[in-house]
């Protein structure tokens, strides 16, 4: 059943006040999953007092390498055995050339899966931007809070107490 949710975006002028905003939200009872910090540049992890990010990106290249190696072996061993024609006096399954193609296949698989992993773990692609402000890319720092309508007041109070520059709001339906 759909129920109404609110998004509140607070824009801060500098990292210091934004970090104060994060602290104020935490003190007001908002958890790590209730708000996001939006910036136009990568800040050192933990600059705003946020929790470290958990991800599974490192598994992607490993899986990709196995898939790539399997396909490369299929393309080398499988195809040569299906038509065992001796050329240049070399064995049908010649190790050095098979190693080259298998190596490239393994690396290609690992890299392709890493790219997929980066996109997936970044929670992209995202169809709409939701509540957003283009000034975030001009130096403002955004604190985006998703909450129930009755929590909105405390989110706004927390951000105002920390010295927010501007606040924007949006209402949306949660499935």
């Amino acid at each position: 059943m759909a129920n109404k949710r609110r998004s509140v975006l607070g824009l801060f002028n500098d990292p210091g006040t934004a970090a104060d905003g994060v602290e104020a939200l935490q003190n007001a009872g908002f958890g790590a999953n209730d708000f996001e910090i939006l910036t136009g540049a990568p800040y050192p992890e933990g600059a705003f007092g946020e929790e470290p990010i958990k991800h599974r990106l490192y598994y992607f290249p490993l899986v990709g390498a196995v898939v790539g190696l399997s396909l490369a072996l299929l393309a080398t061993v499988g195809t040569q055995l299906s038509w065992p024609l001796v050329t240049g006096g070399k064995p049908v399954l010649a190790i050095p050339p098979m190693a080259i193609i298998s190596y490239e296949g393994t690396m290609l698989g690992a890299i392709l899966f890493t790219i997929l992993g980066i996109v997936f773990e970044s929670r992209l692609p995202r169809l709409g931007l939701g509540l957003y402000d283009a000034r975030i890319n001009e130096g403002k720092i955004g604190l985006l809070v998703a909450c129930e309508p009755d929590q909105m007041g405390s989110a706004i109070d927390a951000m105002q107490g920390a010295g927010v520059f501007e606040i924007k709001q949006e209402e949306w339906e949660k499935a």
């Binding site: 705003f48 050329t87 098979m98 890493t114």
Partner: protein
């Protein structure tokens, strides 16, 4: 080292998007000029396809001439991207920031250009499908047989395909945050394009963290591919037992380090052009060329060491055919003056000059010395390929010569226009200096007081 001017995020956006959003008359004039050279090259290629390879200077026994030289040269230039971008990212070298994307983009265009030359060399490129085929499907469905993985002709495309795909995706992933900036700064069709390509990137902590890890992880994964590509290109030669001067165990590392030498020089040339044309002197500063100059001294000397080993160990065996080849290369004409130009241009002129700080910090001198390196490195590939093939057979009556035809000269000129035009067009559509990287540099750098000196300090994340 730190000579930056303090800029706001908004100023950085304006400066680095200026190449994309501002209209410069010179841009269209240069692009039109390059377009004309490309058209001339296309006409030459069309003529060659119509008349056959007889219109080139290729003839028995020299069947690898300008086309294969140019192929090896552009594969070499393509090594700039990963060498600079990946190694400097992994080493967290602070001065990498303005250089990485230019290096990666140069990789993509030079690699794509390199791929054209073996196709041209076949004379009938549409038939290449029959030797390469698709990765899984049989290359000739009517007979049900597959491509021959034992042929070196398949190793090159597989390595280059892997490198080109990886480099292109690497550039794309690193572009996503900058595409979000372009999305927020543009309107109309441009906004629609950048919004689609930015994939909905908003710059939350998770996305930035993943970006940082992606830079390191992809660098680490692409580095081994980069080494394999030029190694495999070198094996096109080294695996040929019958050609004097080619069958060398040292060729793979020798080619890789030579590629790095010409590639890094190519990036320096491109960066200087960017600083001049787009007036990015606040971002591409003398300190960057100082660091790149020092790197080039190390790379050039390592390359010279391999060159010396390759040359001297060939002579050490006292084999008459090897000595005859070296005599042709060094003393035979016109090869002799080319050899002298190659060795002077690649090492003995630039490296002593780079020893001086004043030279390393001079854009004009760095521009010309790096151009010189690439003239030398092009000649190096030419001198490896042609004299060896001329003396391929033991009997003198089958020795031959090679005179490139205007068709080949035009196609080589067009390849330079394709790479330059490609990078120039890229700069019109995408930011050529990573915007977010420039901003990050601003946030993690500071000045600290040590006694009576103020020195730069950089925050480095583990």
């Amino acid at each position: 080292m730190q000579e930056r001017r303090e800029k706001t995020e908004s100023q950085i956006n304006t400066d680095l998007l200026s190449a994309m959003l501002d209209n410069h008359l010179w841009f269209w004039i240069v692009l039109a000029g390059l377009g004309l050279v490309i058209l001339a090259g296309a006409a030459a290629a069309g003529y060659m396809f119509d008349r056959g390879l007889g219109v080139t200077g290729l003839n028995r026994p020299v069947f690898w001439g300008f086309f294969i030289t140019n192929f090896v040269f552009w594969v070499g230039i393509s090594h700039a991207g990963v060498m600079l971008s990946a190694i400097l990212r992994l080493a967290q070298a602070e001065w990498r920031r303005p250089a990485t994307r230019a290096a990666e983009v140069l990789t993509i265009f030079s690699l794509a250009t390199a791929l054209i030359f073996p196709l041209l060399h076949t004379g009938r490129p549409w038939r290449v499908f029959y030797w390469v085929g698709l990765p899984i499907l049989p290359y000739d469905l009517s007979r049900g047989i597959f491509q021959n993985v034992r042929s070196a002709l398949l190793w090159d495309p597989s390595a280059i395909f892997t490198y080109l795909t990886s480099s292109t995706l690497f550039v794309f992933i690193a572009l996503v945050p900058d595409l979000a900036v372009a999305r927020d700064r543009t309107t109309g069709w441009r906004r629609a394009l950048y919004a689609t390509l930015a994939l909905g990137f908003r710059g939350n902590a998770r996305q930035w963290r993943l970006q940082a890890i992606a830079g390191i992880l992809l660098s680490a994964l692409i580095l081994p591919v980069f080494v394999s590509v030029h190694s495999i290109v070198s094996w096109d030669f080294a695996a040929a037992v019958s050609v004097e001067g080619w069958h060398q165990t040292i060729f793979a590392p020798y080619f890789v380090i030579g590629a790095v030498h010409s590639g890094v020089s190519g990036v320096v040339t491109a960066m200087i052009l960017m600083a001049w044309l787009f007036k990015w002197q606040d971002y591409i500063r003398p300190e960057h060329f100082d660091a790149l100059g020092r790197l080039l001294i190390v790379v050039a000397t390592a390359w010279f060491y391999f060159f010396f080993i390759e040359f001297s160990f060939g002579l050490f065996s006292q084999e008459p055919s090897e000595i005859a080849l070296r005599q042709t290369q060094v003393f035979g004409q016109p090869w002799g003056w080319m050899y002298l130009t190659f060795i002077m241009a690649s090492y003995f002129i630039p490296v002593p000059l780079w020893m001086f700080r004043r030279v390393r910090r001079s854009l004009v001198l760095m521009f010309w010395t790096t151009i010189l390196v690439n003239i030398g490195m092009w000649l190096e590939r030419f001198l490896i390929i042609v004299p060896s093939l001329m003396r391929k057979q033991g009997l003198t009556f089958v020795w031959g010569d090679y005179n490139p035809s205007p068709i080949e000269v035009l196609l080589v000129a067009a390849s330079f226009a394709v790479v330059l035009g490609g990078v120039l067009l890229f700069s019109k559509i995408f930011p050529l200096i990573p915007i977010y990287d420039a901003k990050e540099g601003k946030y993690i750098e500071a000045e600290i007081q040590v006694g009576r000196r103020t020195v730069p300090a950089v925050i480095r994340e583990e």
